[in-house]
Subunit: 721 residues, 2 copies
Amino acid sequence: MQRIPLIVLVCLVVASVSAQEAAKPPVGFSRSSADALAKYERLVLDTPSPSNAKKWLEALTEVPHVAGTPAEKKVADYVRDRLLEFGLSVETVKYDVFLNHPKQVSLTMTAPSRQELALMEDTYPQDTAASYRGQFPAFHGYGASGVASGQIVYVNYGAPGDHERLKAMGLSVEGKIALVRYGGAFRGLKVKEAEERGAVGVLIYSDPADDGYVRGDVYPDGPMRPASAIQRGSVQYLSIQPGDPSTPGGVPSIDGAARITRDQMKNVPKIPSLPIAHHEAEKLLRQLGGPRVPDGWQGGLPFSYHVGPGGAAVEMKVEMDEGLKPIYNVMATIPGTTDQVLIVGNHRDAWTPGAIDPSSGTAAMLEVARSFGVALKAGWKPKRTIILGSWDAEEYGLVGSTEWVESNAAMLSQKAVAYLNLDSAVSGPDFSASGVPSLRDVMREVARLVPDPRQGGSVGALWEGRAKAAWAQSAPVTLGGPDREFDQQLGRLGSGSDYTAFLDFLGVPATDMGFGGSSGVYHSVFDNFRWMSLFGDPDFVYHQAAAQLMGLLTMRIASADVAPLRFSGYARALREDLDEIRTDVTKRARTAVGAPFLPDFASIVTALADLEKAGVAADAAADRVAASRDAAAAARISDTLIQVERAFLHPQGLPGRPWFKHQLIGPGLTTGYAPWPYPALREAVEKKDTTMFGAEAKRVVAAITAATGKLRQAAAVMPGR
Amino acid sequence: MQRIPLIVLVCLVVASVSAQEAAKPPVGFSRSSADALAKYERLVLDTPSPSNAKKWLEALTEVPHVAGTPAEKKVADYVRDRLLEFGLSVETVKYDVFLNHPKQVSLTMTAPSRQELALMEDTYPQDTAASYRGQFPAFHGYGASGVASGQIVYVNYGAPGDHERLKAMGLSVEGKIALVRYGGAFRGLKVKEAEERGAVGVLIYSDPADDGYVRGDVYPDGPMRPASAIQRGSVQYLSIQPGDPSTPGGVPSIDGAARITRDQMKNVPKIPSLPIAHHEAEKLLRQLGGPRVPDGWQGGLPFSYHVGPGGAAVEMKVEMDEGLKPIYNVMATIPGTTDQVLIVGNHRDAWTPGAIDPSSGTAAMLEVARSFGVALKAGWKPKRTIILGSWDAEEYGLVGSTEWVESNAAMLSQKAVAYLNLDSAVSGPDFSASGVPSLRDVMREVARLVPDPRQGGSVGALWEGRAKAAWAQSAPVTLGGPDREFDQQLGRLGSGSDYTAFLDFLGVPATDMGFGGSSGVYHSVFDNFRWMSLFGDPDFVYHQAAAQLMGLLTMRIASADVAPLRFSGYARALREDLDEIRTDVTKRARTAVGAPFLPDFASIVTALADLEKAGVAADAAADRVAASRDAAAAARISDTLIQVERAFLHPQGLPGRPWFKHQLIGPGLTTGYAPWPYPALREAVEKKDTTMFGAEAKRVVAAITAATGKLRQAAAVMPGR
């Protein structure tokens, strides 16, 4: 062989790496496996159609279908029948779970004058009559029965900090009705906070600043929330525990399960609460006396907001029909050739017609299922068993998925490679995805293969372009050196949809995704088929894209030689999360009165450095195993890789919320929807509790170290030279 | 002498430095000079009284007093008489300058229906009748006469970027009436931008989101802008050139001065414009068709804003009485024992009664003058001549102060140590100060000596506490090392008050300061005595504090052995300004299409490092000279120190605006009020003009190097060992 001068060699190596990069098979695949799958991938891209998605959506949203009602059972049967039609094997799994429906609700302004306030939305002739049929009046899922009366006190979003500011003004909600606006935290946590501070009742209204005319034209002329629209929803204390509140021990609500009574439940309110429209809230807010609101509390109604009390009082009467009611998960199974399992899910129950939430997801999922039927007929044989779940009672507190996960915990712990969620799949054209960092690479690959139906280019390229533009504005600049590089990541998962039990209870890698846009009809009766046809996705092409994306993602994960979980970037994501907490701590220390709280993060930083090295080695081994086509090695490394996320669990769970086992991610204790990375550390920082911080840092290091061990084990399956 | 172990020695040195620090005389003073001044400082703190301030304010604000009107001449005489009473020698300096007053104005909505729109405010029985007497209807200072009619197009704040977004939507103001809201840039630049883009007329309204009910309770019940309130004001192109537009060559408007005609003026609009209230603007905005506004354009009116055109049209008729009118600067002089001069000024003319703007400043200045009268009687002899200026026609474009500066340019260039400005001195309790970095130390010292009348502690401590809290939130955190230190700085000076000609035309170190709070009555008839008595400063104690602060600052600067300009921190301030531009450049480069614009800042960074060293040396020399009590050296170093700021000037001025000579600070070309540090560099960055950047960077380096030379000259007056 001829010797080549070093500089030329380097160039050749670079060129060869680039060429190799371009020809690199998808993550987890050998070249030949990828080539063999290509024709089925084509089917998954070609089969979903806008016209079918439109047809499913119209049928799914004909009437409101709240969990536990006959209307929802009918929708379950409709979904089951479609899945059967597509050639899949289907089972309907029933659970009896604790739910409530409103029996009698009323809200009366008693001062400055007596007036009944509306608890139903206005109707518009543009809508079909059916879309209002059987609609419950304003009520909260898991809201308490009760009668409450008192003066109104306005507490902004009802977050703990809002109540603290109220306290600083010498006021409180004690003995009052708290009037808070939607936004920020999950609504149940607004009620929890008010209840703990002595409020006798809670009204939650939709301020036009948050999703009404301040944000755009309102329904029926535009996509945003009109004056009469009510945001229904659950007031479960979601960050404490989701699922059926009558079986809180991490056990499923199956026949013979031990149940607790409502009084014993720790994750539902004791005081009555109601959601109201801003048209009604305005009547109260305008009358409020007391001091002018602090900065940031003013909403979009056309007057200067005051805190109260004084000026306005109400009487609220809430009577619930509550107890065990049947819910139905519709489960389709596509058997795989190996022992691993991939779960793909979407809830089906809705507070209203639910065109966005969740029926856009259900319509897309039906198209995924249909395309799988086509691919199976054409000969596709997934390596991993695919379970498609159509969950019920998600709206009450992720009940259907949580009970199913609890029912199948042992199997899932051992076999589940991932859970892929689709909730509100379409409300506009802008794709975004959240998930664990190990699913980032496969998600990026797939998103780049799906064409955006309106804007040109791929869904992935547009997604990353938007993310990069946001990053370019917000990422700090360090002068005097090269600028940092953009690194596309998945958003972190908080809670508020069905991935929660999979990830937080079992450590199953999970994602959530959808196409978003301007929308202000969340959980109102205007989240209907007309809304979607006019504002959300008039041509149903984003429904099609959602189905293509989910179909391809599922097919790839189910068909890869090696489970396509990748860990090179995991430590970086965890370090960025940690740096956010460290930055917050530093900023607080700058204005600390007395000794600043400056805990030591060094042990975690060190543990993350080890995790990063092990992740790089494991990924390299996974690539080698996939290329080798050694089936035994592939099974071995796949089974190890799916255990990495499990290593982040601790059997005792998070402080005060033992059901949440994951130590590195969870719903914010006081936010619910929004994620808290390192939830226990975050809590220790909020409390400035050095002892707690020390103990929790040890747990975090132990969890990271355990994952590092798993990664090293994976790397050892096929060590590099 | 006994030998002391090293460790003990270190401790002693530290202790001794601390003790020395505590006993350190004020900046520029020897210990003995400081001690000698103490009794006069006491008088300046003890003399100003709330009751006098209240009395002056009530008299000054009896009626609206626009420049060029008999009402304003009466106020000039009132101020002159007070200054004479206080024992000062006073001169009234008259200039004939180009001004306009409204002769006939009307605004008619012509579509969708014909309706006259109001150009006068509502009146309230709570106000005195006199406070409305002779009030001009809505008009703009230097606004053009003309008739315009057309469709309305809404362009948010009317900034260049807003028009660009409109263009991206395929729309423009060409041939239309631009409806823009107040906020952001100086109003004249809104008209300039619209005119350049072909608008035939401009309406500027006050949106409730900016200073109305969204911000708080409105007049007469609260301090914010009510629905009928109109923000009058000048539409001169302030960032191009202030002063009398008929004498633009940097020359004063004295008898026989060469004048240009209105048509020849480059810094006043050619198209008519009017300010309107949101009560009237709402009638137009509600009707607008066209697309929904982009993000950030929505205001506080209770509907979804649209851009237009279509839906609303107007006819505006504006007839001005314009030409040369007399203005009066009232100047009091307190002679000093050296050649240097300190100017302290405040404008007097107002669009309305002007309780905040500017009469709170005038009332405080009268108390300063009164306390100086007392101190002079007690034997105080300032080293530097003090000139107190009560400027006229500031509202039209800093006319009185600019013409005076141009009249006295040679004297001021040679002798002026500083200019201290007071405009709207009081609208609430929160002190803030802007100015050149060399006046930071003396301002901090003085602010720490004035007690806050309501909140406890000193004005300075509260000011720095607020600044530190804001810094703690916004300053970037660098992890993995000690956190950066807070460095209290003065805000940078843009334009919009009378410091402009001193600093930007002549390079005289300048400051501006005041006590702020919630206020939405700017340039409306509700900026009156009742407003101040109820909302701004009910006990007039912040008027007292403003007088104490300005009195003490003036006395110190006038009495110091060595001119109290300090330069150790100047380079840091300039580096921070530069880093903001560099950060901006880096962020833009992240999303650049094609080759990113990444100019080289290295030569400026190097020049600033030299400036910093020279500043430290000059300060140390100034300390030595002050301590030495060597009068000749003090005169020499003082005369050198006052030339440092002059070194930043360039005779050709900034690109396209030759009147602005300062190379390192100026009003933003497109902002007016807001400062642009390194104005020419900033412009080159906006234009991505590499050639321009290179040329301007050379000028900037030359300016910094010239200042470094002056500082080295100062250090050489008394070199350290």
